[in-house]
């Protein structure tokens, strides 16, 4: 059984946990270093990125996750919305203004609330280009809520989905970032894709004690 941590400092934690349960993984609520021990992968939910970043730093999780997931070859991490922002190397102007804490793991620059404030929340169909198979595309209907966009990707990071010519999902090795909220739908396919990555990860970043 896969033990998947869901960062539970703030945000839609239960929705991700429910998705993982449906896919027969064991979700673990991660709110400090203690509960982070023994998970094979981490999901960072949607929420307020300023708040989550601050709390990650205070709990020591920012440094620990950074260490375990560096370079996209270590622990798999999946971030949605605020989670995608936290994965980014930079968050542009707003970041400097607020001192937003980021994991700086994925070689991309994001723009927060790029579609405007809350009133710009909407649902849209996106097409996600999965790794490995050029023809394998995932069409999903997903909600965007005060969503960020990925302004540019560089290095080993690739864009895997666009919406209105803007990048809304990216991947760098074991790190997956989505600007939308698949966890608020009934569609489990993107989570399934992430879990496949976890299964394929031959060298788990941590020894996994079975509880």
């Amino acid at each position: 059984m896969l033990r998947i941590g869901v960062l539970g400092l703030q945000g839609d934690v239960e929705e991700h946990m429910e998705m993982l349960r449906r896919l027969s993984a064991t979700p673990v609520w991660v709110k400090d270093l203690q509960s982070f021990k023994g998970v094979q992968a981490l999901v960072i939910p949607g929420g307020e990125s300023t708040t989550i970043g601050k709390l990650m730093e205070e709990t020591g999780l920012l440094e620990e996750v950074r260490k375990k997931a560096r370079g996209g070859k270590g622990m798999p991490v999946f971030g949605t919305c605020a989670g995608a922002i936290l994965l980014a190397k930079s968050a542009g102007k707003q970041q400097k203004q607020t001192g937003q804490k980021l994991l700086e793991l994925v070689d991309m620059q994001v723009d927060r609330n790029a579609f405007g404030r809350q009133r710009e929340s909407f649902e849209a169909e996106v097409e996600i280009q999965l790794e490995g198979n050029k023809k394998k595309k995932l069409k999903m209907n997903v909600p965007f809520i005060r969503a960020p966009v990925i302004e540019k990707v560089s290095g080993n990071c690739r864009a895997i989905a666009t919406f209105e010519n803007r990048i809304v999902a990216a991947q760098e090795g074991n790190l997956l970032a989505a600007c939308f909220h698949p966890e608020l739908t009934e569609d489990t396919r993107l989570h399934e894709y992430f879990l496949e990555k976890v299964r394929r990860q031959r060298t788990p970043a941590t020894a996994t004690p079975l509880l």
């Binding site: 539970g8 400092l9 703030q10 945000g11 839609d12 934690v13 239960e14 709110k31 939910p45 949607g46 929420g47 307020e48 300023t50 708040t51 601050k54 709390l55 919305c81 605020a82 707003q94 203004q97 607020t98 937003q100 927060r112 405007g116 404030r117 809350q118 009133r119 929340s121 809520i145 005060r146 909220h181």
Partner: protein, 281 residues
């Protein structure tokens, strides 16, 4: 996406920054906190757009603002300002004793107060995207928020137990004055179809933990922070307590040496017309 978070009432940029720094997920921009609104008396209205805009500029977390119950023109103004959420709130003097705002006509999301499942479902049917307990605002007394949370939980349990009983659901729908479809959906979910926060009288970290343990998705803190002796410390402690609501050791640590909380009011000493929760059913 404010789940598991704390939303704090603020009246200026300085307070908004303290709230953001403490880890609040949003702030409620007001011209006065509920305790002062209560003291001032008279008609309480939407805050001056200037106050709201200044606060919006000061922080990057979402900014909410309150309009009077039924006052859709105030809501239009707030939507125009670009606030992240409108609170159609009983803290302000109601503008309409019969109707709430038709929230489906707006693109900005709304939060509304509720004391029981009927009120909650009526507000959701009108288009509310978030529900909070009414509690008794500005008192620093959590008893009413507890009453409202327990009441909703109890009614929810009863509904879930009867989810296969269409006669019962129809009866409830007519009692609640909402379409049976919404009652059925709620019964099947076993919880409200939107997030349910605690609000009204939360003044200490333990109050926040209490509400979280009773099943709240997060908490609003009004006068509790900036009417306390040490707002920075209180704000931080309440954020911690909301996250670690089921860990008494953490609660003890964050509660230690906090200083004087806001001075409270016993709600039984309030006359019926002083009780804000009676507004907008």
């Amino acid at each position: 996406m404010q789940k598991h978070g704390v939303i704090m009432d603020v009246v200026n940029e300085k307070q908004a920054k303290i709230a953001e720094k403490a880890g609040a997920v949003a702030v409620m921009a007001l011209h006065a906190v509920p305790a002062d609104i209560r003291k001032a008396g008279g008609v309480a209205r939407m805050a001056d757009p200037l106050v709201i805009e200044r606060i919006m500029k000061a922080v990057t977390i979402p900014v909410m603002a309150k309009c009077r119950i039924g006052h859709f023109a105030e809501a239009q103004v707030l939507q125009e300002l670009g606030v992240d959420m409108v609170d159609e709130s009983e803290v302000l003097t109601p503008a309409d004793e019969e109707h709430h705002i038709d929230k489906k006509k707006f693109t900005v999301p709304f939060v509304c107060g509720a004391r029981n499942l009927g009120e909650a479902l009526r507000r959701i049917e009108e288009g509310a995207a978030m529900i909070r307990t009414k509690g008794e605002p500005g008192t620093g007394n959590v008893v009413e928020a507890v009453r409202h949370m327990r009441k909703v939980n109890w009614e929810m349990k009863e509904l879930a137990k009867n989810k296969g009983n269409s006669k019962f659901l129809e009866l409830k729908a007519s009692e609640f004055r909402v379409p049976v479809g919404l009652v059925k959906k709620t019964a099947e979910l076993g919880r409200l179809p939107v997030v349910n926060f605690a609000a009204g009288g939360i003044a200490t970290p333990a109050d926040a933990a209490l509400m979280m343990q009773l099943g709240a998705d997060g908490v609003f803190v009004g006068s509790g922070i900036f009417k306390s002796a040490n707002p920075e410390k209180f704000a931080k402690a309440i954020v911690e307590a909301t996250r670690h609501f089921d860990e008494p050791k953490v609660l003890a640590d964050v509660s230690r040496g906090l200083g004087e909380p806001m001075k409270g009011i016993g709600t039984s000493t309030l006359a019926m017309e002083e009780r804000m929760q009676e507004r907008g059913v």
